[in-house]
């Protein structure tokens, strides 16, 4: 595993520890998807796939793919025993209605108010919001899982400059440098990665943040 892979694995392992037994969880495409591989022992969660089912399971064995069973990124997956399928209106009724406990998504920018930008860079990249706006507004808890910087540029900023996915909805930010909570009075660094100093986090962050008194070391 190279350094970047290790860094990414730290993030997804740490996010996985946020999930509680019985939680209904929606994982975004990319890095967040890998959270499923690191559930703590004894924790059973229900993964929701916004294209229309709960009970999302791992990728099938080669040759066992079912073209009608894919995740929201169109990759072949499985439906676990006890899973259930539904239409898009019901899928988002579950999401918007607060029946999803946790959503984990990536970000282009997150700011000190919990604003999230993740769906477009004007004039450059306009993939669309897909289900991200509904997930961010509807899920009870929004966790951003991302690398702390993009080619050295901070992704945690004082105020998002890119078009928002949702306003003031992010609850927790997990990066390879630490864990920050979004509280009514701003960002709080609650855990720091092994071998990283608070000054290093400040240097890589473009937003003011507080540090809790009992700052813990982030555990994978």
């Amino acid at each position: 595993m190279d350094a970047r892979e290790q860094m990414r694995e730290l993030i997804v392992r740490r996010v996985a520890r946020e999930l509680k037994d019985g939680d209904v969880v929606n994982l975004g495409i990319g890095l967040p998807t890998k959270v499923a591989n690191h559930l703590p022992e004894g924790v059973e969660v229900i993964f929701q796939s916004e294209n229309g089912f709960v009970g999302l399971g791992p990728a099938p064995e080669p040759g066992e793919e079912d073209p009608d069973v894919v995740n929201a990124g169109a990759q072949p997956v499985t439906i676990l025993p006890g899973g259930a399928c539904f239409c898009s209106a019901t899928s988002f009724a579950l999401i918007r209605g607060g029946h999803v406990d946790v959503t984990v998504l990536g970000a282009l920018e997150v700011d000190q108010y919990g604003n999230l930008a993740s769906w477009m860079i004007p004039g450059k990249l306009v993939p669309g919001m897909g289900g991200a706006m509904d997930l961010t507004v509807g899920a009870k808890r929004v966790i951003v899982a991302m690398e702390h910087t993009n080619k050295g540029r901070p992704k945690i900023v004082a105020e998002c400059q890119l078009p928002l996915t949702a306003a003031r909805e992010v609850d927790l930010i997990v990066t390879e440098m630490g864990v920050m909570e979004v509280r009514p009075d701003g960002l709080w660094l609650v855990e720091i990665a092994p071998g990283i100093t608070v000054d290093e986090v400040r240097a890589a962050t473009a937003a003011p943040f507080n540090v809790v008194d009992d700052l813990k070391v982030m555990q994978a």
Binding site: S88, P127, G128
Partner: protein
């Protein structure tokens, strides 16, 4: 009552230039590829297409975009089809992006005779621009309006000869919603079974909503 089972050529005669068409599917899963073949064959153009996304350059709604048959797409996502982005940037194609849950409710509202729905999704974002904000119990919601189409092209797993439909796994997605929201509904199906062989409790789209049934299930686009 008349027979609903027909060929795609016959069914698609009703689709004319400039129409608004809903097409089921999510990244081409649950998209009626045979009917898209049919649209490509028929030469129809200048379409406004409502769907979840523009699929891929060689799959789903994306094939209509690549063939320049669309004037506008109303979708939640275009990231998997670079040609959509190119045509959007060049001004050839209007792309209206809608949050997926809002799109689903708009189509549902169109089929259910609702004048609109209030959603918290999009508040505080560019999605809210130009839309009415309604406060309910101290919370802001966007008023989102219903969507309807001239024709809906949907994909089901099984149909009986009365048009009752059953979808399979994640291929259900927008299909049952679109079946309610268009003046004409054409369903491509993997299998046609006799009337009475589907359990009434298992039917996901009642046949009264379906105007034409086209056998599909063969290799598409090849």
């Amino acid at each position: 009552m008349g027979k609903k089972v027909t060929t795609r050529q016959e069914a698609l005669k009703a689709v004319r230039d400039g129409m608004t068409i809903m097409i089921g599917g999510f990244l081409a899963v649950g998209t009626p590829e045979g009917l898209i073949d049919g649209l490509l064959e028929s030469g129809v153009r200048d379409l406004v297409v409502i769907g979840n996304d523009t699929g891929f350059v060689d799959k789903g709604i994306g094939r209509l975009v690549v063939a320049k048959r669309c004037r506008e797409v109303i979708v939640s996502h275009v990231g998997t089809n670079p040609e959509t982005g190119r045509q959007m940037n060049s001004g050839e194609l209007k792309v209206t992006l809608v949050p997926q849950g809002t799109l689903a409710e708009q189509v549902r509202a169109g089929g259910a005779g609702l004048g609109g729905i209030l959603t918290p999704t999009g508040i505080g974002t560019v999605v809210a621009e130009g839309k009415q904000v309604v406060q309910v119990a101290g919370k802001d919601y966007l008023l989102e309006l219903p969507l309807r189409a001239d024709v809906a092209l949907i994909k089901a797993h099984k149909a009986d000869e009365k048009g009752n439909l059953v979808y399979r796994r994640s291929a259900r997605n927008f299909n049952p919603l679109m079946a309610m929201a268009a003046d004409l509904v054409i369903a491509e199906v993997d299998e046609i079974v006799p009337v009475g062989s589907l359990d009434p409790d298992a039917i996901m789209t009642p046949g009264l909503l379906v105007d034409m049934i086209v056998p599909g299930g063969a290799c598409h686009g090849c």
